[in-house]
Amino acid sequence: MVNFRRARAYVALLPMAITACVIYFGTTLWSLRVSFSSSRTFPTDNFVGLAQYARLFTDDRWLVSLANLAIYGTLVIVVCLVLGFLLAALIDAQARNEGALRSVFLYPYALSFVATGIIWQWLLNPTNGIQEAARRLGFADFQFDWIVDPDKVIYTVAIAAIWQSCGLVMVILLAGLRGIDPDIWKAARLDGIPAWRVYVSIVRPMLAHSFATATILLLTAVVKLYDIVVAMTQGGPGTASEVPAKYIMDHLFGRANIALASAGSIVLLITVGILLAPILYLRRYSARLAAR
């Protein structure tokens, strides 16, 4: 009976397993193969070794893209977690108007990245956005033109993404906060521990799983970063806000160089792997500690 049940479970898992093997691993291997060839619009079997990778790492635009992804990723993940936690704690502590506040902070997440990008493009445009509005209000020297400044434009993309995503982090952490036993708060109050200390030293470690969930959701959104850049800056000014996914898409279609695009996606995959490996290792390590 038990075996039969287990067999049924495997049968139920089969479609997903096939999908994972064929679609994910199969196409990844296919991309790897293409990345070693000289393919243009169509795949060819003319293999050129690591030539596409060599070109990739001498291409300024690719290097800028990787650097931008690092800056953007760090900012978005750190700021979203901090802001999301603060918002969640605030709402948790003061239950009045909770429904309204929760909706307000979560609403941006309901927008597509394209809509977010366009809204922020308008707001940040120096000739008709925030800067111009402040100047008309009398602050004649007010300057906020990051979106047209090649050295600062990637921060504006991060601002837009943070605005959109920190509501989601707040909801996840709020759910975690609600799961915390009220007795802990009572005990802490009896011991005279200040509230901020309870949040930082007691509640935050208890929310580790909620934080992990939020981080992984944010991380996948970071790697996929494409549409918000296209809508907001189109990678400009110049190539200052280019990101790897856009480089890959441009070469896959418009520039008809699928070999270079495949090499780019393999590099991106390896980068993600290197980033994820320590996180996964840490989680297993802590699980083993907990089991002991």
């Binding site: 243009r40 619009t41 169509f42 291409d59 300024d60 635009r61 493009q121 445009n125 120096p126 000739t127 008709n128 033109d145 979106i147 047209v148 090649p150 907001m232 800056t233 189109q234 990678g235 400009g236 000014p237 110049g238 190539t239 200052a240 441009d250 070469h251 279609f253 418009g254 520039r255 008809a256 160089n257 270079l260």
Partner: protein, 409 residues
């Protein structure tokens, strides 16, 4: 009894199918979705219907996206009857893979080689076969100016040399207007570069750099001067330019806030929507010297190969109709392009189109667009270098070196 009934039913069906041969049915993929553009497509569709065909419209917004969809459908075995491409090397790989059919019969019968400009002809005719039907000829580097802005700035004479253009830009700047309406997107920076290469560098340098990819030309002082002139234009652009669309830049001319825009003749459609007329509200300069090259940039339909005779018939009819003088004039009026072919009355065209047509009839001035000579990969790498040079402080020698490397691939 049953068998007889079924047999007669099948026979009747077959008879019906043969009696009324279906009209040629063409599914046409294109990216013309803006206001003036879709009106232009309607003109082509009407002409096709008038010739007895059925036009099935498949529009995909964005030229790159539309071409990507067309290529995936061809590769996936579900091709459209015809798909729009630029007259360029974009469809060369499709030809090499044997995925495109030819329209030799139509091209020979209609005498395409008699009236098509050489750069267009050489991209659609590959190894003696015609693989595409051209529909439009654009010139991407026209210089447009707002008459209102010019009179406000006290510019009385249309600039006829590059020095006069910069003098006019200086006066516009002094008058507090935006001298050069520019949209800070890589392809628009590319347009400015080609305009300077054509007008400052001249035909010879243009062809040696873009067509021959000659390292000596790329390292020459003449080309350095072109790059420096291109960069000099940056100082006449307003701070809101980055990311701006080309039609928003045109709107600055329409409202008289900006003086000059360097852009293709598709901007005429924007002026037309705003009820502005050429030579009354805005001026058009085709080049800054009597010998300046005329760059032709075209769109053409390609025909995915089919074994089905009905599909081939629909393709042949389409190739004939879209290149016919009547459809061409109706189409060009909406699109802002110059009609291909002969046999139409130039008096029905607007003054700017007539100006362009007059230059184009001199074959020694006609050159192809960058995409005619460069494969998309080289063109993209060139565009990355130019937009970086425009937006950042890069030494001009580095730019020359980078362009040399990008074009030698």
């Amino acid at each position: 009894m049953w068998a007889a009934r079924i047999t007669s039913f099948v026979l009747a069906l077959l008879a019906g199918a043969f009696a009324q041969a279906a009209p040629p049915r063409a599914e046409v993929m294109h990216w013309w979705t803006a206001g003036g553009e879709s009106a232009a497509v309607r003109a082509l569709a009407d002409a096709y219907r008038a010739a007895g065909g059925v036009w099935v419209d498949t529009a995909v917004a964005g030229s790159e996206q539309a071409r990507a969809v067309a290529i995936s459908r061809v590769v996936g075995g579900q091709p459209p009857t015809a798909a729009l491409f630029n007259t360029s090397k974009q469809f060369l790989d499709l030809i090499d893979q044997g995925l495109l059919g030819t329209v030799d019969a139509v091209a020979v019968r209609d005498g395409w080689d008699r009236f098509l400009p050489e750069p267009i002809l050489s991209t659609i005719r590959v190894r003696g076969h015609y693989y595409a039907a051209p529909v439009s000829i654009h010139m991407p580097t026209w210089i447009w100016y707002s008459k209102a802005a010019f009179s406000k700035a006290g510019v009385t004479k249309e600039p006829a040399t590059i020095e006069e253009l910069f003098a006019a830009l200086d006066r516009l700047k002094a008058a507090g207007l935006i001298p050069l309406a520019h949209g800070g997107q890589p392809w628009q920076e590319n347009v400015l570069f080609r305009a300077m290469l054509a007008n400052v560098g001249g035909r010879d340098l243009y062809l040696r750099v873009i067509r021959d990819r000659d390292p000596r030309a790329i390292q020459s002082d003449g080309f350095r001067k072109v790059l420096l002139t291109f960069k000099r234009l940056k100082s006449y652009v307003d701070v809101g330019a980055p990311g701006r669309n080309w039609n928003d830049a045109t709107a600055l001319l329409i409202t008289g806030k900006a003086g000059v825009q360097i852009m293709g003749d598709w901007v005429k459609a924007e002026f037309a929507v705003a009820k502005q007329l050429p030579e009354r509200d805005y001026g058009c300069i085709v080049g800054l010297s009597p010998q300046s090259p005329y760059i032709v940039q075209g769109d053409a339909f390609v025909f995915p190969k089919s074994e089905n005779r009905d599909v081939v018939a629909a393709q042949q009819l389409l190739a004939h109709v879209v290149t016919s003088p009547r459809a061409q004039v109706a189409f060009s009026k909406q699109k802002g392009s110059i009609p291909i072919g002969t046999g139409f009355d130039p008096a029905t065209l607007d003054p700017c189109t007539r100006k362009g047509l007059a230059v184009m009839t001199d074959p020694s001035r006609v050159v192809g667009n960058d995409e005619n000579y460069l494969i998309p990969d080289q063109n993209g790498a060139l565009s990355d270098i130019l937009t970086e040079y425009w937006n950042r402080n890069v030494p001009v020698e580095t730019v020359q070196k980078d362009i040399g490397a990008a074009l030698s691939r």
